[in-house]
């Protein structure tokens, strides 16, 4: 993994998450505040799990297939307490567990975040990056994570972007994973003026 490639991915990450955060903030009526600049890491897939908080805790995972001019996958993973906080902010409801409406709210939130991320990249590259209907899972982090990796047929390293927000005093953390297919990553890079990636 060379420096230029990593820098480029981080740049994509920043731009994409910037838009996703704006969208998220709008969805929450402007009550969301971004705490830190998103942190992008390129990690071997096993380390990525540790980076995202380990294997046993419960997380919410959103997974989409990307099609159009670019093929690949994208995922959002966040811990359960962040999910509860988001549901509360979105629906005004306080529930002991994630019910149908909660799942629906999370799915829509994931959909908007992923799509905003892809919209940003589309604007940058003039390529079409269309997301599928998102899949949603609420389960052990390890299980969600490996299902995402297997679904994307990832063998080596992944780019994980960590974002932390606070909204009405609650800390919300999420991880976005962007997994374009190898050849198409080159397509994106070329559109941004970077040859030979």
């Amino acid at each position: 993994m060379n420096e230029v490639r990593l820098d480029f991915l981080k740049e994509l990450a920043n731009i994409g998450t910037g838009h996703a955060t704006t969208a998220l903030s709008q969805m929450l009526g402007g009550r969301l505040f971004q705490l830190v600049v998103p942190d992008a890491q390129m990690l071997p897939f096993r380390e990525a799990a540790d980076y995202m908080g380990g294997l046993e805790h419960t997380v919410v995972g959103i997974f989409v297939v990307i099609s159009g001019d670019v093929a690949g996958h994208m995922a959002c993973v966040y811990p359960l307490n962040s999910a509860y906080a988001l549901i509360r902010l979105l629906t005004g409801e306080e529930t002991p567990e994630i019910d149908e409406l909660g799942r629906s709210a999370l799915q829509e939130l994931g959909n908007i975040m992923v799509t905003s991320f892809l919209n940003a990249l589309s604007k940058m590259t003039d390529l079409l990056l269309a997301p599928s209907v998102p899949g949603l899972a609420v389960d052990m982090a390890g299980a969600v994570w490996e299902s995402i990796l297997a679904g994307a047929e990832v063998a080596g390293e992944v780019t994980v972007i960590r974002t932390r927000f606070s909204a009405e005093g609650e800390a919300i953390e999420g991880h976005i994973i962007f997994l374009p297919n190898e050849e198409d990553f080159g397509k994106i890079a070329r559109r941004c003026g970077l040859e030979g990636l």
Partner: protein, 159 residues
Amino acid sequence: MSEIFVNMGEISSAKDHGILTTVGLGSCVGVTLYDDRAKVGVMGHIFLPRSRPNDQGAPPGKYADTGIPAMIAEAIRLGASKIRLQAKLAGGANLFPNLNMKSLSIGQQNVEAVKELLSKHGIPIVGQDVAGNHGRKMRFFVENGLVSVTAIGREPVEI
């Protein structure tokens, strides 16, 4: 009692005592091999069904086709006898069922690949808890060969 965690793509083993555990089996398949006389246990955490040409440096346990033979070799290394080996499986779920990515989900493909390889090596499957849409944790007690499978919101199941 020492507990060894077997992560994605890893293979671990123990003799006489110890617990081999794998956390978070989604589409992956957790496989255990046990020789109850030699009290040798091996656990693998299989990620994908077939090894890739562009992933030469991968640990053998990552793919079913290289993982099962590697697990058998490890069992024999610790003193197990191949004809006494019995297998148990857990995992191979589809956590995102509404995404029709392929006709057969990765989880299902993994289960089929593992079963095919075990059959090829003449190893019977004596317990399984596979498929569905939920993640699993698998704990293998080498002292007696017991395997316990847990999932969120479910009672532990012994296979």
